[in-house]
Amino acid sequence: MSSTEMQGHEAVMIDAEEMRRARQRKMEKTGKWLLPILIMCVAIFMWDRICVWNEIPRYILPRPGEVLATLIEDRGLLFSSLVNTLKITFLSLALAVAGGVGLSVLFTQSKWVEMSFFPFAVVLQVTPIVAIFPLINIYVDNQTTKLLLCAWIVAFFPILSNTTLGLNSVDRNLLDLFKLNGASRWQTLWHLRLPASMPYFLGGLKIAGGLALIGAVVAEFVAGASGLSSGLASRIIEAGYRLNAPRLFAALILISFTGILIFLVLSFISNRILRRWHESALTQER
């Protein structure tokens, strides 16, 4: 009798433990969203209060309300600038994907090609884009091409290096199996190396998405000095000259929201693709 009692007790204990864990999971899930938003609200509120308490003039630090008002008021100008920046960002990201994947496929076809060209990719990566830009400025006439080239240089490296790593991280036994069945180089690439490198590629893509935006904005900044570009960066420069701090903040906020959005969209895509097979995308069900 005492043993059944024990068992019953234990069962209840396990249930309680399980329930506690479930509750904790739920709390963590809501907390993941709620906490950052809460902190953000507090920060914005403090920002507002500091402006009021210290009587900071609006051309130095505008109140959040003013920034929001500017965002709405100047939306025509700001959003058309955003669209310009986004065009450069996505076009350069697309080119980075094409270039990065293309080059890494070339690299895996021959060790010699990789040995010869990889160092140059590294050189391109480690040289600050701001330092390269004057050269681009001399050699390239078309404004859009300049910006694209700039953003591309910044964005393509993570895709190249990640995809190269992925294409080479194929299970040796699977490679043997392909060899045993007389697979051609093309078949091995298409049916084995490319799918196997998918998680690596998508990891690179997530980084490259953010970098493409940074590249586009930096390029505009440098190009904006010559007064020709019309992206968000030139709005910031312009607003800086005119001491229009509210618009400066509005543009800044737009840029960072765009960055966050790009990251979220790319994460979503990557999760979708890897959902059924890769560890990184597994949900709690196991």
């Binding site: 299970d171 036994n173 699977l174 043997d176 199996l177 392909f178 060899k179 045993l180 069945n181 007389g182 697979a183 078949q187 049916h191 084995l192 799918p195 196997a196 998918m198 059924r276 097979w277 890769h278 597994l282």
Partner: protein, 270 residues
């Protein structure tokens, strides 16, 4: 019983003549290996770790070439598709469904999905996986993954199936089950099997011949016939014959490993 059993295996299919393999770092993985594999054999390669079992299997599969000696294939010319290979790990493509994984060898030969369907479905039913065509590997248990791997090895109807410790990573219950399933398949189809294992018990249960290998350098130490009739089922595992044969095999293995004593009474047995 023995003659009836012997009669089922055909003539020599592959003869290894003083085959050697030296790796670049001067490791002698195999030295002067002579071995004859008959049509329809279920031959186990038994030996301690590092004695060159996997190396021998890779040579036979044509995945690497010997540094000395020759592999003499008899009978019709062996094409690529005539060899099936099953690895120690399931080695499935994690992004592909069970169907696609099994289809792979045929696909690489240019067989379309529709044309491959009957064959893929047939092997899947042979390994008891009907209904799992659309599952991906991570949705399967370890034993089921191994079945997929075996199905993939068999889908081209190879004349030779090479298996490198295919069940080593599995629990005993699953291993016994897969042993029986494999035997059933083999008895029906009579393809040649070369089966690498660490387990004396597994090799005696499955094979009609056991080749015992020794290490440093890797070489063939001895060979024994397993004179027990097929079909072998779970009752065979508890039979006196089985106990006798495992003792004989393990004493051979012990001598191959240079371990004396303890097995003294076993030596009397053979």
């Amino acid at each position: 019983m023995q003659p009836a059993d012997k009669a089922k295996t055909g003539g020599p299919q592959l003869i290894l003549r003083s085959v050697g393999k030296v790796f670049g770092n001067d490791v002698v993985a195999l030295r002067d290996v002579d071995m004859t594999i008959n049509q329809g054999d279920f031959l186990s390669l038994l030996g301690p770790s590092g004695c060159g079992k996997s190396t021998a299997l890779r040579l036979i599969a044509g995945l690497s070439s010997p540094t000395s000696g020759i592999l003499d294939w008899r009978g019709p010319v062996m094409g690529k598709a005539d060899i099936g290979f099953v690895f120690q790990e399931p080695t499935l493509m994690p992004w592909a469904s069970v169907f696609d994984n099994v289809w792979l060898p045929l696909r690489l030969q240019g067989v379309s999905r529709a044309d491959a369907k009957p064959q893929v479905e047939e092997v899947l039913s042979q390994v008891n996986l009907t209904g799992f065509e659309n599952a991906v590997p991570r949705e399967l248990s370890g034993g089921m993954k191994m079945r997929v791997s075996i199905a993939r090895g068999l889908v081209t109807r190879p004349r030779v199936l090479l298996m490198d410790e295919p069940f080593a990573a599995l629990d005993e219950i699953t291993r016994f089950q897969l042993n029986s399933d494999l035997l059933t398949l083999w008895e029906r189809e009579r393809f040649t099997v070369i089966f690498v294992t660490h387990s004396v018990f597994e090799s005696v249960f499955l094979s009609n011949r056991i080749v015992v290998m020794a290490a440093h350098p890797g070489r063939v130490f001895g060979e024994m016939d397993v004179d027990a009739p097929y079909p072998r089922d779970e009752t065979f595992r508890t039979s006196e014959d089985y106990a006798h044969l495992t003792r004989k095999a393990s004493s051979l293995l012990r001598s191959a490993m240079g371990i004396e004593g303890e097995g003294g009474d076993d030596h009397v047995l053979h």
